[in-house]
Amino acid sequence: MIPVILGVTILIFTLMFFIPGDLAGIVLGPTATEAQKQAYRLANGLNDPYIIQLGRYLSNVFFHLNFGTSYIQGTSVLSDLLERFPRTITIAAGTVVVGFGIGIPIGILAAVKQDKLFDRIALAVSLIGISMPAFWLAILLVLLFSVQLNWLPSQGIGGVQYYILPCLANAAAGIAGNIRLTRSCMLEVIRTDYVTTARAKGISETKVLIRHALPNVMINIVTAMGMLFGAMLGGTIIIENVYSIPGIGAYMVKSINSRDYTAVEGSVVFLAIVFGFVMLVVDLVYAWIDPRIKAQYSEFRRSKANAK
């Protein structure tokens, strides 16, 4: 995981390095003289070769936890990010909970009732769900729940009620994806021999599903979980802008529009690190759920030891 995060940071820095335009000109404004710009470049090491700037950025980020200073605000990027992080992670976590909490049961039920009415409705709804831009759904939800029914606030932050609509809008694609994934995995699993065996033993159908089929479906779901979490974290960036929630996504978009590139760079690196940690957790959960993985690892270690 550490090499991947290091690699991502290098990738992001390299991409941002190629942004056209003169940084000193952006920061000092159009009235600055050439000498002032030159002095700024010297002071901030902007004339240094790429590799030295990269090294400085990496050591700042990883050894000093310093993401630089925002050009426009003059504040520390890290403290800006940390202040906004809880809101972003709340939406992302809420989205994951809603996405899996609703998606998986419906998917299982749809598979059990294959080709019945429920299955068809679930499939149709999930197909629509993955075809909608999340921010459009977000706007529609505002129109319905905030403007027409006046149940929920349309934007800003505050209590729990402010997070319901963003999570719901962001989770729609996840719910739909989970229904489809769970349904197709479940259909495969309930046709396997061990499920037939379990049924032949006379175990009740619910027990067959929960004890024998579900654990095997979960393995596939956890694999997809990481990718889905990525999509949800990415979706949060756009959703925050719809609901004017001052999270990292809104911060990032604001920085992009004001060409505050240290802040953009910091936000992306920060999100990449968060995403890296989540993927690590997913891997651990994966090994915990699937005993075969653990066995594989110990075997791998054994064969390596033998080779030596």
Partner: protein
């Protein structure tokens, strides 16, 4: 080397496809016709194809179909609600929304298709290199890919769009590049499954050049599973393009791109919801139709579902 590859073309290509048909199962060989036939039998696929084609035709023939111009301002029709004159109503400058959506298809649909073309070319190239050579090349490519995939794809697209700046070409490039890793993975997995089949070894043994083996024998036989991710990629790209426009990257508002229209209309949603309703609806219909097609394609290609 040159003469070798010429020999290889003259003498052995009639043999190789036969061997291929015998050795690999239906999924790889003669799959083109079969898949196409199964596809046409599916109602979903047919509906999807018809909708997508008609949206493309509407975009192409927009000037002939619509009586309005997509740029002309009309002070009398500002915020006109949907009526028989303006089926989808008019926007804040009195421009007919239906007309703009038809012209917008030119941007949105071509962004979806062109960026997928970029992802596909890059993905097939890198995927086949990784899958065919294996070993160190594969390892290095996959580690680099891990790095690219450590960013959620929309975040990656936002980052590239920030660096490249707004505009049509740049959006295509940003979405195209961010779609490459997914296709590389599918391509590589598909190649690994046919890498050991005899016709590849036959091609190696008669001294075909590597590039010839990859392009003539491996890619055509490994491409079918990748078709599904390519097809999914188009609908994803259309949604992501709309998302980019919404946050101010991508295509900029005066252009009638669907996402840009949606984002331009969001300031007026309280009193004039039709400004955001219809652009979103058309995005959904296009993506839905494309997904119907992808689903049918996946089912047609999946040997497990054949009965």
């Amino acid at each position: 080397m040159q003469s070798n590859s010429v020999n290889c073309a003259n003498e052995s290509s009639p043999i190789l496809p036969n061997r291929l048909q015998k050795k690999s199962n239906v999924k790889h060989a003669s799959s083109g016709d079969l898949v196409f036939q199964t596809l046409l039998k599916k109602k979903g696929a047919l509906v999807g194809i018809v909708i997508v084609l008609s949206l493309i035709l509407l975009a192409i023939f927009a000037p002939l179909i619509s009586p309005y111009s997509y740029t002309a301002l009309n002070a009398k029709a500002v915020f006109a609600p949907p009526s028989w004159q303006h089926l989808f109503g008019c926007d804040e400058l009195g421009r007919d929304i239906l007309t703009r959506l038809m012209y917008g298809g030119r941007y949105s649909i071509s962004i979806g298709i062109l960026s997928t073309l970029v992802s596909t070319l890059g993905g097939i190239l890198l995927g086949s290199i990784a899958g065919f050579f294996g070993g160190k090349v594969d390892l290095i490519l996959m580690r680099i890919l891990d790095i690219f995939q450590a960013l959620p794809s929309i975040l990656f697209a936002i980052l590239i769009a920030t660096v490249l700046g707004p505009g049509f070409n740049m959006t295509v490039l940003a979405l195209g590049i961010s779609g490459i890793p997914g296709i590389v993975r599918t391509m590589r997995a598909s190649i690994l499954s046919i890498r050991k089949i005899d016709f590849v070894e036959a091609a190696v043994s008669i001294n075909c050049t590597n590039s010839r083996i990859i392009w003539k024998y491996i890619v055509p036989n490994a491409i079918t599973p990748v078709l599904v991710s390519i097809s999914n990629n188009v609908s994803q790209a259309v949604i992501q393009a709309a998302g980019l426009s919404y946050i101010g990257l991508g295509i900029q508002p005066p252009s009638p791109e669907w996402g840009a229209m949606l984002s331009a209309g969001r300031n007026y949603i309280l009193n004039h919801p039709h400004l955001v309703l219809f652009p979103g609806l058309i995005i959904m219909v296009f993506v839905l139709a494309f997904n119907l097609f992808s689903d049918a394609l996946r089912d047609a290609l999946d040997p497990k579902l054949k009965k």
